[in-house]
């Protein structure tokens, strides 16, 4: 008699990604391996304070994507009222959906977790300004559009997802928390297939001002050199640099249906709270989540081949993360920093970095780390100026968020 399938055996069967350095997996991995960035001065309407207002003449650095090429299946009628975050979500989900072949899956057994909260701030700011002195004409769709869960509505109207769909907010850990939640939803038997989507966090100038005022967003030091401003783990970093991004990850029960060859198997995950509402990183929290992920995986630290760190370019955060990795026994694993190329996607980052990890795993190559001229710790085996061939099976990725959130995932090539 065949043994029953292990419901805890969850694999990744589809990926989608949209970033400033490329739309779709092929463009994205090519840009990563080339170290091709898109940093500049933020131009999108609503990302610069109006003249004479709060913030005065502030200009922010970052990487913005071009207009996403929408799938033909998305009707013009749908697009009209979709925010940028919603359009990019549907586009990114479409790529992952098609790769995983989900048209064959039972809609009632598919779930969707959208990582991110308050992701449509720029469009809301523009709307508030537009209707400030004629609020009686505010569009009725605002009543549903202002909620992040509107993205769930768009996505489930566009794709036959009928199990469940909701958002999950965890600041800059949202994307990875969504992946972990999707895994748990499959493991618990709630659904057979679950899509985790790290939503595009569409910052307005208000959030940029706030991040800058609190010292999180760079860059004073590199104000005139946007290409050099984003430098995770380099001694001359001075904060994160924003990068628009969105990623989708399809996870499902291994062998539950005919699915494409998986990218990887989920091995373990960990989440922890530091007990603070502040943005500060915590060595203990980061150590705890890596240890939890390895414990669930039943793996020793020495068995980890590659680390995709949170690595934002934050002065304290980068240093604490390296200490945590060293304390966990991961200082031997090859390491690079995806945000040095993409910028910080905030709510999207954790999902983008799972995609970056798995694309590198499939290629058996590691992408360079831009601007890593003077590493905080030389002893780590960094991938620096050039991409490298690397034969590897196991990876750990970390994501942290304001409010004391730490999270980690461990993945293994199938």
């Amino acid at each position: 008699m065949a043994s029953p399938p292990d419901v805890r055996d969850v694999v990744v069967t589809g990926l989608g990604v949209t970033t400033a350095v490329g739309q779709g997996k092929d463009d994205f991995i090519a840009a990563l391996l080339d170290g091709r960035h898109a940093f500049g001065f933020l131009q999108r309407q609503g990302r610069r304070p109006p003249a004479g207002s709060a913030g005065g003449t502030a200009v922010f650095l970052g990487a913005e994507m071009g207009e996403p090429t929408l799938p033909e299946s998305i009707a013009a009628r749908t697009v009209r009222t979709a925010s940028l975050s919603a359009k990019v979500a549907m586009t990114t989900l479409d790529e992952a959906w098609r790769e995983a072949g989900l048209d064959d899956a039972d809609p009632s057994r598919i779930g969707l977790v959208i990582g991110g909260s308050n992701v449509q701030q720029r469009e809301l700011t523009l709307l508030h300004a537009r209707y400030a002195d004629r609020s009686e004409f505010l569009r009725p769709t605002y009543g549903m559009g202002f909620m992040d869960s509107d993205l769930c509505g768009f996505c489930t109207e566009q794709f036959p997802i009928r199990g469940f769909a909701h958002t999950l907010g965890g600041a800059s850990a949202s994307g990875l928390l969504a992946v972990l939640q999707a895994v748990r939803a499959v493991q618990s038997g709630q659904v057979d297939v679950c899509i985790a989507l790290g939503a595009l966090m569409d910052l307005s100038y208000w959030e940029c001002l706030g991040f800058q005022a609190m010292g999180a967003m760079g860059s004073h030091r590199w104000a005139d050199a946007p290409a050099e401003a984003c430098r995770p783990f380099d001694r001359n970093h001075d904060g994160f640099i924003f990068g628009e991004a969105c990623a989708a990850v399809v996870v499902e029960r291994a062998g539950g249906r005919r699915h494409p060859t998986p990218y990887a198997r989920f091995r373990g995950g960990g989440t922890a709270m530091d007990g603070t509402r502040n943005p500060h990183p915590s060595l203990e929290g980061e150590v705890a989540v890596v240890e939890a992920a390895l414990r669930e995986a039943g793996m020793s630290a020495s068995a980890v081949d590659y680390v995709n760190p949170h690595g934002t370019g934050s002065s304290i955060g980068d240093a604490i993360e390296l200490q945590a990795l060293a304390r966990c026994g991961l200082a031997h694993a090859r390491i690079n920093a995806t945000k040095s190329i993409t910028g910080h996607g905030l709510s999207a980052a954790g999902a983008v970095e799972v995609v970056a990890t798995l694309l590198q795993m499939r290629e058996q190559k590691l992408h360079p780390t831009r601007n890593l001229v003077d590493p905080l710790d030389e002893t780590f085996p960094w991938v620096r100026e050039k991409a490298e061939d690397y034969s590897f099976r196991t990876a750990v990725s970390l994501s942290m968020g304001f409010g004391g959130i730490s999270s980690a995932i461990c993945l293994e090539r199938c």
Partner: protein
């Protein structure tokens, strides 16, 4: 006969909200519902029309219009 300007604005905004209707001729007797507008679409079309006219009318006062002609009449009457 409803006001032509109001009628044209309703048609313009209906085409904007339901792009599939582009190029289709509109009649006074067309109902937004039958043209494919759901209740949110209908509210959106009416609000866009009111904004174009800079006329403030509570949407509830326009709820009984059965077709575009009646809607144009009502809006025109209340904005006079």
């Amino acid at each position: 006969m409803p006001d032509r300007h109001v009628f044209d604005l309703i048609v313009e905004h209906t085409r904007e909200v339901i792009p599939e209707l582009d190029g289709r001729p509109f009649e006074l007797s067309d109902s937004l519902h039958d043209l494919g507008a759901n209740s949110i679409d209908r509210a959106e079309i009416i609000m866009m029309t009111l904004e174009s006219l800079s006329v403030r009318i509570p949407l509830v006062e326009l709820a009984n219009a059965k077709n575009i002609g009646e809607l144009a009449d009502l809006i025109h009457g209340k904005s006079a």
